[in-house]
């Protein structure tokens, strides 16, 4: 934000689904090493923002810079190769692959087997339950386990920037805590995290900085602690 070169920067990004103008000029900047969150109501364009960063739903206009290099014209696999990983919304894992095969898919672009094995061990220390489920099909895991699997899969590419799309969606409060605990651990290991959430309180209280989105636009951006105190956010998203 202030001079320090950000890991990810969006400058006036517009995205369309056919005729629908989903992102109407998004600009944001995420510093190295921290946790940033994007909160907003359903349909505000939060998931679209993540898909646009990854190139799945390409930006029609604007610039996306990863580590200062433009990535807005890259295909998803090229973005992934640069060191970005993403968990899709609604815990999209591969339902008919075993949990181990799912994790292996996360390392699809990697050739360094020894290092990949280390990362697998790390994912297992992060989410011990996955180690007990290696041979079980992804689709038969519980909701919480599927979220862990999706995050584990994203980590298998050893990303420098991890994009999480609603990690708390549909999970029991206790599991949400576990997931956010894991997010903090991942962040401490050196991965920058950008997460999209509807659970504004959980997201803001675990982040360094936050953005608030409404119908395709960023309407507020500030320190996460400051946003938690802001009257506007309290009223609209925290239900106070």
């Amino acid at each position: 934000m202030d001079g320090a070169n950000p890991i990810l920067q969006l400058e006036d990004v517009h995205t369309y689904y056919g005729n629908i103008h989903a992102l109407k000029g998004i600009s944001l900047s995420i510093p190295h090493g921290g946790i940033a969150c994007l909160i907003g109501a359903n349909g505000a364009g939060k998931s679209t923002t993540l898909l646009t960063i990854f190139g799945v739903q390409p930006a029609a206009e604007g610039k996306i810079l990863f580590d200062g290099q433009p990535i807005q014209n890259l295909r998803p696999e090229q973005v992934a190769a640069k060191g970005v990983a993403q968990t899709p919304e609604g815990r999209q894992i591969f339902p008919r692959m075993t949990s181990l095969e799912n994790l292996e898919m996360g390392a699809f672009l990697r050739r360094d087997k020894a290092e990949t094995a280390k990362d697998l061990e790390w994912v297992y220390t992060l989410f011990p339950i996955l180690k007990q489920r290696t041979k079980q099909l992804g689709g038969t895991l519980s909701g919480g386990e599927q979220q862990m699997l999706a995050m584990g899969r994203a980590l298998m590419s050893r990303p420098r920037l991890l994009l999480l799309d609603e990690p708390s969606l549909g999970l029991a409060p206790k599991l949400v805590k576990t997931i956010f605990q894991a997010i903090l651990t991942i962040n401490k290991s050196g991965t920058t995290i950008f997460l999209v959430e509807q659970n504004a309180h959980m997201a803001l209280s675990n982040s360094d900085m936050g953005y608030v989105m409404e119908t395709g636009r960023i309407v507020l951006e500030d320190d996460a602690k400051a946003l938690l105190q802001s009257e506007q956010v309290k009223k609209a998203y925290l239900g106070e």
Partner: protein, 410 residues
């Protein structure tokens, strides 16, 4: 004997009765009871055998022996593991190899057709089974192989072996051309578009009189030649042997089929194969994992088309004749049936289904016009009783037995 199985048996028998009795029983206005009940009886007997087999298997000893940990896996795996894979594969291979020595010409001819369809089924399995792209125009690539060999041989005198790679390349390129506009489509839309492309190719072949001689087809292509070294008076020379005999052609397609099996098996187990499965499972998740979905989908079309093209070139060479009516929509359906009936994604299943689907209608020839009815019925019954296919792929088996696995896992 489980009560539900018995109930199923009666329901199916009655259903078959309703279907068969009037259709087979009234060739004219009078009812032929003997004939109608005869045909019905055959099907009921098949159902009864299935029921008995299931009951015996249920009470058999092997289940007890695999109790405990291994009950996590599907119960069907127990029986197959008994016989080592190596043995039954070599026995099967031996049977296929000696087949032309003991069979008559007609049987060898059916055998050749079976093997062609095995190649086609395995090729389509890449597109439908692995990458999950429903292709209803697959037979078009078979036509491309047949016509590319025919035209190159007739006009330029190129040999079968020279035409094979050219046909494969042409098929692959066409696969990409057809695949490209369908990249963003899924499911039923994709099926309709591929069906349309399949028909377009057939109609082009049918109407481009100058090049393809239209519905009359092309005639007089050379049979494949085999070159072998011989030590004569003039030192080492290469002798040429024309593969005219049916057994010779049988062995040629046999070798082509084996090569296809090896290639598809390796693809299945490769990184690319895994990526195809990921695309089939969830395209967005695959993209987010760094799978280049666009390229891999095109590759699936190209690879599938390449194998069909090999089959087509052989088919044209064997008959020395080809015409557009060999490549109607029904043929695409049959190949798709082979893939589905055999078990989507399962190589042994598709081989078995290829043989069964092509050979069985021949066996039913006695029934004359009813043989397609018998065929259709067999398919319908099969899909109800065993939706995962004859020999399901491990992944599919898991899918259809998910609840069992889940309860065992908890």
């Amino acid at each position: 004997m489980a009560k539900s199985d018995l109930k199923k048996f009666f329901v199916y028998s009655v259903f078959l009765g309703i279907l068969i009795l009037p259709m087979v029983g009234f060739p004219t206005t009078s009812f032929h009871a003997g004939r109608a009940f005869g045909v019905w009886g055959v099907f009921v007997a098949i159902l009864a055998i299935g029921l008995i087999a299931k009951t015996l298997r249920g009470t058999g000893g092997y289940r007890k022996s695999t109790a405990g940990l291994s009950s996590l896996f599907s119960p069907a795996s127990g029986t197959i593991k008994r016989i080592p894979r190596k043995y039954y594969i070599s026995i099967l291979l031996l049977m296929v190899i000696i087949f032309p020595l003991v069979a008559n010409r007609y049987m060898i001819d059916v055998g050749i057709t079976c093997l062609i369809y095995v190649v086609l089924g395995l090729g389509l399995n890449i597109v439908v089974g692995l990458a999950g792209l429903l292709d209803l125009g697959y037979i078009a690539f078979y036509a491309v192989g047949a016509y590319s060999y025919s035209l190159l041989n007739l006009h330029f005198g190129l040999s079968f072996w020279a035409c094979l790679p050219i046909g494969v390349a042409l098929g692959a390129v066409l696969g990409c051309i057809i695949g490209y506009p369908t990249l963003k489509m899924r499911g039923d839309y994709l099926a309709i578009v591929t069906m349309g492309f399949g028909e377009i190719i057939r109609l082009v072949l049918n109407n481009w009189d100058k090049l393809t001689h239209g519905p009359n087809g092309l005639l007089g292509m050379e049979k494949p030649l085999i070159y072998y070294p011989s030590l004569g008076e003039g030192g080492l020379t290469w002798e040429v042997f024309k593969l005219k005999s049916l057994p010779g052609l049988y062995y040629l397609i046999f070798i082509l089929a084996i090569l296809t099996i090896i290639a598809v098996n390796r693809l299945d187990k490769s990184r690319v194969g895994r990526a195809w499965v990921a695309i089939r499972e969830d395209e967005v998740a695959a993209e987010l994992s760094g799978v280049p979905t666009t390229w891999l989908k095109l590759l699936a079309y190209a690879m599938g088309a390449a194998f069909a093209s090999v089959g087509g070139a052989f088919f044209a060479a064997k008959l020395s004749y080809t015409n557009p009516n060999f490549f109607i929509f029904m043929e695409s359906c049959i190949v798709l049936c082979i893939v589905v009936l055999g078990g989507v994604g399962s190589i042994p299943g598709i081989i078995l289904a290829g043989v069964v689907l092509i050979a069985v209608p021949e066996v039913f020839r006695e029934l004359q016009t009813y043989r397609m009815l018998a065929f259709g019925l067999a398919m319908a019954v099969m899909m109800v009783l065993r939706p995962e296919g004859l020999i399901p792929a491990t992944r599919r088996k898991r899918e259809f037995h998910e609840e069992k696995q889940l309860s065992a896992g908890d």
